[in-house]
Symmetry: C2
């Protein structure tokens, strides 16, 4: 897309860097605007606004911040948010009761249980209790199975991998027939990202901690999605010239010059990679802003499906 | 395993061939014997024998043969088989009613709906109706999702990919840290085979019809599972010297010298591949006999789980 390419070129931060910068912050903003317009139309046409319920157990500062940010993002696009805050020592049954209430509430179209849950709870039991039609995180195994299968479609695509694909699409990166390497195989990013690339007809390889020659394999890839959580693991020498690099990692590294004493870097050594790659996401400002945008997108999609609004 | 290696060496059919022959017929026989012993023990201990129900709709000759073979294999190991034969014009509701009956029948531990179903039926509706605890084919998306996810286990591993893995295990082929290429991405073989290899810590790439350089990628693999249904697609030049090759293909090719006018060949050109590979399955007599053995294994596993028999 011409407008995105221009924006990317102007934000490249070094004369050395030849890679186009894939600006997740900009794309996420565009998507939020598109969502706000669709929600306004839906409200006008059928009088319904999407609703997202978030259940937070305990008082972890980081979880509270995530939940607050999700709530703000919902409000900005016109999604009604519902929040339940439960104390750390809440019983599993109590949480399940709240999920059941939201499952049955027609004004709620998406339900999120903020992770991590306290240790005395069984994550699997709790996540499986969320109605498959409202599982906007897309983590239910039934959903993952449908993602893996040809001829089936998931109810929801997990937010972070969906954000990665959206960045590739909006920057016009061709996927069909291309070699793709996903570094990391987590249930929430690496594995579903590999399934999505495969569904888009890439030839996909998954590199993980037991892989003996990750550099050699990664260097064959036209598209790399790095989601392993190791700062600067992917060096310039790992990258095929011209490849498109999506960096999901957000790793704090010590930095005495930063006021906080640390800064955030990706799984990819940006300085080196941006000299070899054709396009690359920065950290922060790449995949990060896309995750919440995709959560809003999934919530809207759910409301449209439930109310059969096209 | 020493005994298998010896058997394999003696069945190699050409002086040229250096590859060990992975004898699926022999392994399947051993597994059926192991299953028969376990079933006898179970019957003695708790008075229960595993039960497998097969639903056949219509009168396709090939489906009738498959069903008859499954029934015979069940009887040989002590699994009680239940069969329902319905005419071609049966309604979907009628099939669903039979599935519901078997779902509720405590003497049935596995339910198979023989595919393909008549065109007027929706495969997805019918397969999804089989109780996840009795889905011995392992094709339910919930099951595939659990197969894909780390930290989750499927109720059942689909029979043919399970057979491929069993052959690799019984011939002592190391999987962890090895490069594996799966050729083909079908829901019933290629995709679940890739997930199983990945769960066993191989570095997996999936090659398919949109892959531009299948030969180059396949030649990097220590383990190849070919399941694409194209006769002799994989030539000797595709194979890394010493690699282990599992050939799932069963393709008829014209052969005027054969009494039937055709013979069966795999997706791998056996004559060429056996000179390069370290180990290879023949066609027929490789993966084929393993599929029914694994169906018996899944049915036994189900009965053990339902009756909590270890």
């Amino acid at each position: 897309m011409a407008s995105l390419s221009a924006a990317a070129a102007s934000s490249a931060d070094s004369a050395d860097a030849c890679a186009k910068v894939i600006d997740g912050k900009l794309v996420a903003k565009q998507i939020r605007e598109e969502i706000a317009i669709e929600i306004a139309k839906m409200k006008d046409a059928i009088g319904v606004v999407p609703g997202l319920a978030v259940i937070l157990v305990g008082s972890r500062k980081d979880s509270q911040t995530y939940v607050r940010n999700k709530k703000k993002a919902c409000e900005a696009v016109g999604i009604k948010s519902y929040e339940v805050n439960l104390p750390e020592d809440t019983s599993e049954d109590e949480v399940l009761k709240h999920i059941a209430t939201f499952n049955g509430d027609p004004s709620v179209h998406g339900i999120l249980v903020q992770l991590p849950l306290p240790h005395h709870m069984n994550d699997e039991n709790i996540l499986n209790a969320v109605s498959i039609e409202k599982d906007v995180d897309g983590f239910h195994p039934l959903n993952i199975g449908r993602l893996a299968m040809q001829g089936r479609d998931p109810f929801f695509v997990p937010c972070t991998p969906k954000g990665c694909m959206e960045l590739l699409h909006r920057y016009g990166v061709e996927i069909k027939g291309k070699r793709a390497v996903v570094i990391g195989r987590s249930n929430i990013v690496g594995m579903p990202a590999a399934l999505l690339l495969q569904k888009a007809n890439a030839t996909v390889s998954i590199v993980h901690s037991k892989t003996k020659n990750p550099e050699e394999i990664t260097r064959q890839a036209d598209i790399v999605i790095a989601a392993v959580g190791v700062a600067n693991l992917v060096r310039g020498s790992w990258i095929k010239p011209g490849a498109s690099i999506i960096d999901v990692g957000i790793n704090p590294v010590d930095d005495p010059e930063s006021p906080r004493g640390y800064r955030l870097v990706g799984d990819v050594c940006y300085e080196e990679a941006s000299k070899v790659a054709g396009a690359i996401t920065p950290v922060p400002g790449g995949v990060g802003p896309m995750t919440i945008a995709m959560l809003l997108s999934n919530t809207l999609e759910s409301a449209k499906r439930i109310h059969n609004f096209k």
